[in-house]
């Protein structure tokens, strides 16, 4: 059984080579000239590739047109991929120049479906249907564009579909709001977050979702997400908190739509975590219902599972949204290119995402700041899953769990447990009550490099040089703590 949330598409801000330590290795072995081959794709074919962390594959579009998840490759521009499994597809046929990594560690093959076989056709049709709805909404200022929720089992290519739809929409001049509700993977931010971002122009195709803002200029416009830290991998780890944060995200997203006419007409594209197996599917559908209600979803796309499709159909088809539209459920096939991603690979992806957050990638090297902080100068709050028993009951009866404030944060004293952990920085004041801190969005992350219990000092790595004493820090268990970022 694959882990829920193991999807094709990792949510990492950039996938370049991250660790400064990795650079010398690559440089050393680059003495031998990298072999370059030309790959010719007929229409609808796909070039699928997998590049492990530390290796890199360069792809250049020589002729024709090609897309990666809906974003077109610029002609004759080398794109370097690392630590990713993805695919390049073409509608018109193309010729790609592939430069293999010197190490030779990568895996690639071409899939050769026809127009009748590729699910891309159905995605394209869906896009144009959405586009017509957006065009209709744009004409009437009071109307919202379609709010599309994509659900499906793990590894169905949900994120990839959301990204493709978003990219196509931006190519038509739309500005869709993309929402990620899967805490296992982050969108633009680190895993453990629920986030939303408006996509107004192209996504850097060597990344999953694009780049976060930094003090440098990005050759491709950055994306600015709004993120809330959940700090746990599964939506049912702490159902109350999860729903609470979803609500916050929905309010902000809806406000953005209300304020921003361009976003309003383009609507939303909402990604979800994979439907878990067995008994955990029940609370999962509760979350889906919550998302549908909070975001006024009017179109649900079920990817790659008739079973999930019939369940969703049963629950939602024909119901009306809060604004009175009928909810439509559509089942589509998953892409044959979706690859299972094992947990080890996913972990390496998460690790490289954290590295990249602080250190940047090959295209842009960032310099984070380290600082020594006294225990007393920081305010750390623990996000935890309720105990097993309450979690079990929480799956079904979390709504009346008044006595057990499972969604509340607990103040935590710094301890060795925090070493090598990533903490989220809440956009709130240390003087705020816990529920305000819990509800706040996050400004970013810091990394606990060292905990010196004897001297009561923490060594913290932060992206910016800033006083940390003013901001509450949230300590979750996701993303999991890593070996050591500073080695």
């Amino acid at each position: 059984m694959a882990q829920p949330g193991d999807e094709l598409n990792m949510s990492i801000p950039g996938l370049g080579q991250l660790a400064p330590t990795a650079a010398p290795i690559a440089a050393a072995s680059s003495a031998t000239p990298a072999p370059t081959t030309t790959q010719t794709l007929e229409p609808y074919w796909e070039y699928r590739f997998e590049v492990p962390h530390g290796s890199s594959l360069t792809i250049k579009l020589v002729s024709g047109t090609a897309e990666k998840d809906g974003t077109e490759l610029a002609p004759n521009t080398p794109y370097t991929f690392s630590a990713t499994k993805s695919k390049i597809n073409t509608w018109h046929g193309c010729s790609l120049e592939i430069t293999a990594p010197p190490s030779g560690i990568y895996d690639a093959y071409t899939s050769e479906p026809t127009a009748d076989e590729t699910p891309m056709v159905s995605y394209l049709n869906l896009h144009f249907k959405l586009e017509s709805l957006r065009a209709a909404a744009a004409q009437k200022s009071a109307h919202m564009g379609p709010r599309v929720l994509v659900v499906g089992p793990p590894n169905a290519g949900k994120s990839s579909l959301v990204r493709t739809l978003a990219s196509w929409a931006t190519r038509m001049g739309r500005q869709p709001l993309v929402v990620n509700t899967d805490p296992r993977e982050g969108m633009l931010t680190l895993p453990g977050t629920l986030s939303a971002a408006v996509f107004a122009t192209l996504i850097d195709i060597t990344t999953d979702w694009g780049n976060l803002p930094s003090s440098g200029a990005s050759a491709i416009p950055v994306k600015l997400p709004l993120a809330y830290y959940y700090g746990l991998p599964q939506s049912d780890d702490n159902p109350k908190l999860f729903k609470r944060l979803l609500g916050r995200l929905a309010v902000a997203a809806t406000s953005r739509l209300a304020e921003d006419v361009d976003v309003k007409s383009a609507g939303m594209l909402i990604d979800t975590g994979g439907v878990p197996a067995g008994a955990r599917a029940v609370p999962y559908y509760e979350f889906v219902a919550h998302i549908v209600a909070e975001f006024s979803v009017n179109i649900i796309v079920v990817l790659g599972s008739e079973r999930v499709g019939s369940e969703i159909q049963k629950r939602f088809a024909g119901q009306t949204t809060s604004v009175g539209e009928t909810i439509t459920v559509v089942g589509l096939d998953k892409s044959g290119g979706v690859m299972d991603r094992d947990e080890a690979f996913m972990q390496s992806i998460r690790e490289s995402a954290i590295r990249e957050y602080f250190f940047g990638n090959t295209k842009m090297t960032l310099s984070p700041f380290t600082q020594q902080v006294d225990f007393a100068a920081v305010s750390i709050w623990r996000i935890d899953a309720p105990t097993k028993s309450s979690a079990d009951s929480g799956g079904i009866t979390y709504d009346e769990g008044e006595t057990h404030p499972a969604d509340m944060l607990e103040k935590a004293e710094p301890s060795m447990m925090m070493q090598n952990c990533v903490l989220a920085v809440a956009c709130a004041s240390v003087h705020d009550p816990p529920d305000t801190i819990r509800d706040a969005n996050i400004m970013g992350f810091v990394y606990v490099a060292d905990v010196d219990e004897k001297r009561h000092r923490l060594r913290i790595l932060a992206p910016v040089s800033a006083r940390l004493s003013d901001r509450p820090l949230l300590w979750g268990s996701w993303p999991e703590h890593m070996v050591n970022l500073l080695i």
Binding site: E72, N125, S132, G216, A217, L224, A252, S429, V464
Partner: protein, 754 residues
């Protein structure tokens, strides 16, 4: 495993709910409750959901190919039953059936078979008591039409196989008004589907053209027939009354004295050349020559060409097709002919000089001979039977046409065929002429037909099949004149310009993949002027439904250019496309400027050392506006990169980069004590404080500062110290407006911005 259908869904519509919607369409037929899925009476929304469930269920149950056969049968059976229930040309029924066809596209073969079968069968049963029957042919034909237009392949391919036969059978059987509708329908088949940019016609020209040819022959012959009859009647009643255009003379005009062009048609093979409008100038070929003497020959001609090389008319008997015709027995036909012969003989006895009756009688005798000596295939028997049937009608109601011409003073050479809509029943002979019948039977398609039949002046009813519910354009009542509708759509840019005459139109291949040899749209090719961009996105996507089958099963290549060629050539740096329009060029210029500035800036900033930025809070995020390629448009002529006014709300130059210094970054406006609004400024590629101005070491809100130090006159005495300004800030021009509504979102974060 999924159950069949949730019983709640099935029972949730009672017949009352349905019948209201049914009645509202003007249905005058009693709907009997359906035992199965109640296909045609569900409100469409419920209905399609049901179908989705139904298909899901079917798929879930049948994953093997073995079972798909019986599955197809079941679908076809349900479809047939639903068909049998429609009796009127109501829009919901037809669109529901279309949806069924769409949803069950994998059973297209079975469904199209059931439909064709139904068209053939319906109205055929009790032939001589058939008065009410023929009109039943029209609704299923409309269903066929609707499916062909709204679903397309593979249905069109399946229909095409038997289209000629299906159409002509129906045409032969129905009354005049219905024929008009059928003709209208045929005309739309030669056109692309309205609202689609797919320029291919509904049916391929090689499928439609034989039908057209046959109809042209029918009409030509009928026209000749008419004229001959009229002339003969003139001879009978008017005796030498001159034809149109010839000055009336008192003197009797013997036949020989007529002008050559008006030469006595009766015994010549002169085509009706006097139809100077050219419409029927090709009409010379029809074998329908001089009427009285020829029919036997013609029919014998047809006998000799019973097996024409073209197979469309006589396809192999597929499926249950042959079964439907079993009812036509030659004995029964013989009996009918005998009865008719007797009746005609009686008539002839009354008016022994009636040539019409004479010829009809002769045709009957000939028919009988053929029937007795030849083993005619079923298809031809149908036509024979049809002809007999019309004769039978004719003999019952004494032929009206024998008297009508009398009232017409000079109707002989009227150029277009006189609109026969007023004539309730016209004998088959007068319409078809035996020659036309023979022509149809022989299907001599060797004659090239360059002509398109002229549209009848006014269609009695809208012809287009009901549109899918989502199409707003077709929802409007169709104008009576279909050409007017087409022209209207063309003017609105929904249709490509008028297509040339069908027969000369390029024939695209029927297979979609082969029909679209897309060139690689390299940038220079994108400039090609042939980029098709007709119509709005709505019209192009009107056939896409939010249904799995609609999304999955059809590649719509006409949409693809919207993502590629129509967007213009790519930016060589990032791959974005910019149209070659004026607006697009401006954007491209702005975009290239942006690239330039970014490159410049990244060179600068690299030296300073870079770091990840903090994200903004909810308020700032909500108020962020993505600004893409707008800077150039907003402020043309300003080339100063540092003053790019990307964020429209931020007045030019009234922002500063967020200070790196933590102390200053945490500062608030000394005047209003409010914090600064952080925004990502795309143009500058960094976070800025909007509406901020740095004066000395302090940062103020620009608006506060301006207000406080207005006109350089300094503040009023009471407020001499700006530091001690109002503790409750009032909204200030240039500051964010949404504050009131969103104050709750804001978190309790006050002052410090790190």
């Amino acid at each position: 495993m999924v159950g069949i259908l949730p019983s709640t869904s099935v029972t949730s519509f009672d017949s009352k709910q349905f019948s209201t919607s049914f009645l509202s369409t003007g249905g005058d037929v009693v709907v009997k409750p359906h035992k199965k899925l109640a296909f045609c009476r569900l409100p469409s929304v419920w209905f399609s959901e049901l179908i989705t469930l139904f298909t899901l269920d079917l798929r879930a149950r049948n994953n093997t190919t073995m079972s798909s056969y019986s599955e197809s049968e079941a679908v076809a059976k349900d479809f047939r039953e639903a068909l049998e229930d429609i009796q009127t040309i109501g829009r919901p029924e037809i669109s529901n059936l279309t949806i069924i066809a769409r949803e069950n596209i994998e059973h297209a073969l079975a469904i199209s078979g059931a439909l064709v079968d139904h068209i053939k069968k319906v109205g055929c049963k009790d032939f001589f008591a058939k008065l009410a029957a023929p009109h039943k042919k029209l609704p299923p034909l409309y269903v066929l039409d609707s499916i062909a237009k709204n679903v397309g392949t593979p249905y069109t391919l399946f229909f095409s196989r038997k289209l000629y036969q299906t159409y002509m059978d129906a045409y032969a059987m129905v009354d005049m008004a219905t024929r008009r509708k059928l003709e209208e329908m045929l005309k739309t088949w030669k056109e692309p589907v309205p609202g689609s940019i797919d320029t291919r016609p509904v049916f391929a020209p090689d499928v439609v053209r034989p039908i057209e040819n046959a109809l042209i022959k029918v009409r030509t012959t009928a026209l000749q027939q008419d004229q001959e009859r009229l002339r003969s009647q003139q001879q009978l009643y008017g005796r030498g009354r001159p034809a149109q255009g010839v000055p009336y003379r008192e003197t009797a005009t013997p036949p020989g004295a007529r002008p050559p062009s008006q030469a006595h048609p009766y015994h010549t093979q002169q085509p009706p050349m006097q139809h100077g409008n050219g419409l029927y100038s090709q009409a010379a070929q029809p074998p329908a020559v001089s009427y009285p003497s020829q029919p036997p020959n013609i029919i014998s001609t047809s006998r000799s060409t019973t097996q024409p090389p073209s197979s469309a008319f006589q396809p192999p008997h597929l499926g249950g097709y042959g079964l439907t015709q079993r009812g036509i027995s030659i004995d029964a036909l013989n009996d009918d002919i005998k009865r008719l012969t007797t009746a005609f003989q009686a008539q002839l006895a009354q008016s022994p000089h009636d040539l019409i009756i004479q010829t009809k009688l002769k045709a009957l005798v000939d028919l009988q001979t053929i029937l007795q000596t030849q083993n005619l295939p079923q298809e031809q028997l149908v036509l024979v039977k049809n002809q007999i049937a019309d004769l039978a009608v004719n003999i019952r109601a004494p032929p009206a046409q024998t008297s009508t011409p009398v009232s017409l003073p000079n109707p002989v050479a009227v150029a277009p065929p006189p609109a026969p809509a007023a004539v309730p029943k016209v004998s088959l002979d007068s319409l078809f002429g035996s020659g036309a019948l023979a022509a149809i039977m022989a299907r001599n398609s060797a004659t090239p037909q360059v002509l398109t039949p002229q549209p009848p002046p006014a269609a009695p009813a809208p012809i287009r099949s009901p549109p899918p519910q989502i199409d707003p354009h077709k929802a409007a009542p169709a104008p009576a004149d279909p050409m007017a509708l087409m022209n209207m759509l063309r003017r609105a840019g929904m249709l490509p310009p008028a297509t040339p005459a069908t027969s000369t139109a390029p024939v695209p291949s029927a297979t979609p993949s082969a029909a679209l040899p897309f060139p690689l749209p390299l940038p220079q090719m994108a400039k090609n002027s042939q980029i098709p961009l007709p119509g709005t996105i709505e019209s192009l996507t009107s056939d896409i439904m939010l249904k799995a089958s609609s999304l999955k099963h059809r590649f719509r290549p006409q949409l693809l250019p919207l993502l590629f060629e129509a967007q213009g050539p790519q930016c060589t740096q990032c791959g974005r496309r910019f149209p070659t329009t004026e607006e697009g060029k401006k954007r491209k210029t702005a975009h290239m400027d942006w690239h330039f500035r970014v490159n410049q800036r990244s060179n600068e900033t690299e030296k300073r050392g870079l770091h990840r930025s903090w994200l903004v809070d909810e308020m700032d995020w909500i108020n962020t506006r993505e600004t893409i390629d707008k800077d150039h448009i907003v402020q043309t002529g300003d080339t100063d990169p540092t003053s790019g006014n990307a964020v429209a709300k931020v007045p030019k130059t009234q922002y500063i980069p967020v200070p790196d210094d933590p102390v200053l970054a945490a500062s608030v406006c000394p005047i209003c004590q409010d914090k600064f609004e952080t925004r990502w400024l795309d143009d500058a590629q960094e976070f800025v404080w909007a509406d901020a101005i740095k004066v000395g070491d302090r940062v103020y809100h620009a608006s506060c500062h301006q207000e406080a130090f207005k006109d350089g006159g300094g503040p009023p005495p009471l407020y001499s110290a700006p530091m001690h300004a109002r503790s409750t800030p009032e909204p200030v021009l240039g500051k964010r407006k949404a504050e009131d509504e969103l104050v709750s979102l804001r978190g309790k974060l006050k002052a410090e911005a790190v």
